[in-house]
């Protein structure tokens, strides 16, 4: 199913999230099962199914990485749930170093300043990767789609790092 078509939105990575939100709400309202409570069994089933689709679509389009995965899937490149190991050694080395820095934060003289520095670094790199992803997805060529897939994989590591960082931030505050 093409989630962009469901919301009648252009199939682009750069998406107006406010517009997405308002279209989501109006579709939700239109297909709400309450509206079909007195309808035929077929209509009721349709409204439940449609509501589920609308929720899935909104969830996927809202988050940049899921949106990119959906766009790639529409172009025949399915990368969600892939189990293949990622093997770019330089990238992984850098991830390892960032993880090590996070793990050793408690030993720093000023852990909060160190945390802030790492966060800046993570955010900056994530921004660059997202920009490159956006550019790769505009092209619609097999080569650029492969590049986009690789960028999504890299970004997933950064999102995981961000989660770890937030966990440590919480621990520092407690």
């Amino acid at each position: 199913m093409n989630y962009f078509r469901l919301f009648d939105l252009p199939e682009t990575f750069e998406l107006d999230l406010t517009e997405l939100g308002s279209r989501y709400l109006s579709l939700q309202k239109r297909f709400h099962p309450d509206n079909f409570a007195a309808g035929s069994e077929r209509d009721r089933l349709m409204s439940v199914q449609q509501t589920a689709n609308i929720n899935d679509a909104y969830h996927s389009l809202k988050q940049p990485l899921l949106r990119a995965e959906h766009m790639l899937a529409l172009r025949g490149l399915k990368i969600s749930n892939e189990q293949r190991s990622f093997t770019d050694p330089l990238f992984l080395m850098q991830q390892m170093e960032l993880r090590e820095q996070l793990a050793e934060l408690q030993d720093e003289a000023d852990p909060e300043a160190a945390l802030f520095a790492i966060e800046q670094q993570i955010q900056q790199q994530r921004k660059q990767l997202l920009k490159a992803l956006s550019e790769a997805l505009v092209e619609q060529s097999a080569e650029q789609d492969q590049l986009a897939a690789e960028l999504v994989r890299k970004l997933k590591f950064f999102y995981k790092l961000q989660q770890e960082l937030e966990l440590i931030e919480q621990q520092l505050q407690d």
């Binding site: 990622f86 390892m96 993880r99 793990a103 997933k156 999102y159």
Partner: protein, 127 residues
């Protein structure tokens, strides 16, 4: 999710955690990651002149199963030739650790890590 006793044992007492000196020519490194869960695994082997893996070390950022899988592999490869180590299968790791289906990818990661380390060694030594 319940971890098996073997996973818990490796998780609580990981074998061979650490790293060898990067510039040691007898050392080779395999780096792999799993985008889906953000796990990162580094596995190093130290190979003697007879082509036997003398020692192995690992460092893994990931879940208990990923740590246990890499810990187990460092134990298994010691004393093996590169060709023997190449034969380690993720299914053997998963079976030894009694990994549930959702954690099979952790054993795949460990297999790929040792394969990457062997490839790194062969590349460095023109083999």
């Amino acid at each position: 999710m319940a971890y098996s006793n073997k996973v818990i044992d490796h998780y609580e007492n990981p074998r061979n955690v650490g790293a060898f000196a990067k510039d040691d020519p007898t050392v080779a490194t395999g780096m792999v990651g799993a985008p889906a869960c953000g796990d990162v695994m580094k596995l190093q082997i130290k190979v003697n002149e007879q082509g036997i893996i003398e020692d192995a070390k690992f460092k893994t950022y990931g879940c208990g199963s990923a740590i246990a899988s890499s810990s187990l592999v460092t134990e298994w490869v010691k004393g093996k030739t590169l060709d023997e180590a190449q034969l380690i299968k993720n299914t053997d790791i998963a079976q030894e650790l009694a990994l549930p289906p959702v954690k099979i990818h952790c054993s795949i990661l460990a297999e790929d890590a040792i394969k990457a380390a062997i490839a790194d060694y062969k590349q460095k030594h023109g083999g």
